[in-house]
Symmetry: C2
Subunit: 157 residues, 2 copies
């Protein structure tokens, strides 16, 4: 009954593999970052995103855009930013032209911590990928992750 489409089933397998791979990598990195720097993956990711956005001098991502970038709800983003702000890693500031909008800058301490944590992150990532590559289901995904040459970095509205 309900003879499930083979095509759909294949998709589901692919999604399952993606999910598995993501979960494993995240768990691995989480442990490493947490143990060595007291950062969660989300926190690291947030710092990373925010540090990129303000490569000039003024960070120009609003909370909502940040939320989208890290795939978090607005409320979760608010709290995540608040946590890091309380730890002195970020600083909020009001958008001068629209006081509803709120920008965030990574502080010196935040940048420092981020740069300290980056090797940990990358090493853990490598390990996790290496581990995952042993699994036939995950190997193709691992390959792609390892070979994202695309320097393109634009997200369509």
């Amino acid at each position: 009954m309900t003879a499930t489409d083979p095509a759909l089933t294949a998709l589901a397998q692919g999604w399952c593999a993606l999910s598995l791979l993501h979960g494993r990598i995240e768990a691995h990195i989480e442990r490493a970052l947490q143990a060595r720097h007291g950062l969660s993956v989300r926190e690291y990711s947030l710092l990373d995103v925010l540090s990129r956005q303000h490569d000039g001098d003024g960070g120009h991502l609003q909370m909502k855009q940040v939320a989208d970038a890290v795939v978090l709800s607005q409320s979760a983003t608010t709290r995540l930013v608040t946590r890091l702000e309380d730890r002195g890693l970020l600083a909020r500031y009001l958008c001068p032209t629209d006081r509803r909008g709120i920008y965030t800058n990574v502080t010196e301490a935040g940048l420092k911590l981020l740069e300290e944590a980056r090797p940990t992150n990358d090493t853990a990532l490598r390990q996790a990928l290496g581990e995952a590559a042993k699994n036939a289901e995950l190997a193709p995904l691992v390959r792609v992750v390892e070979s994202v040459n695309a320097p393109a970095h634009g997200s369509p509205a």
Copy 2:
């Protein structure tokens, strides 16, 4: 300053893309499953895994193995299984040879709900993948997901 290894940076980009893709897909499926069947992605995933494991009769998974399969802690798995058991979708039973081990069966109701939810899941998955394919960063990953265990026609080189 802190000239981050380009190789490592590339890896990080790939991971970032993977993470983004996963987050988007999960969020999309979550909404669909939750709205139409009152299931979370985890719950659906658990049902799916457990329904596969007992296709014969002997190959049942213990809690610990289940936890590994869905990348959850043991405690989270305990509670997840408990929730679904309380809803009558699963049934625990003791392993006869090792009474520490606990197996789980998907009940009729569980199978029924799973089969009902499967099209929802697959449709949402397709949508999410289609959406993601528009993003240059994510497209290669999407391709792999779509062609894991590639069915007969159109296998890429």
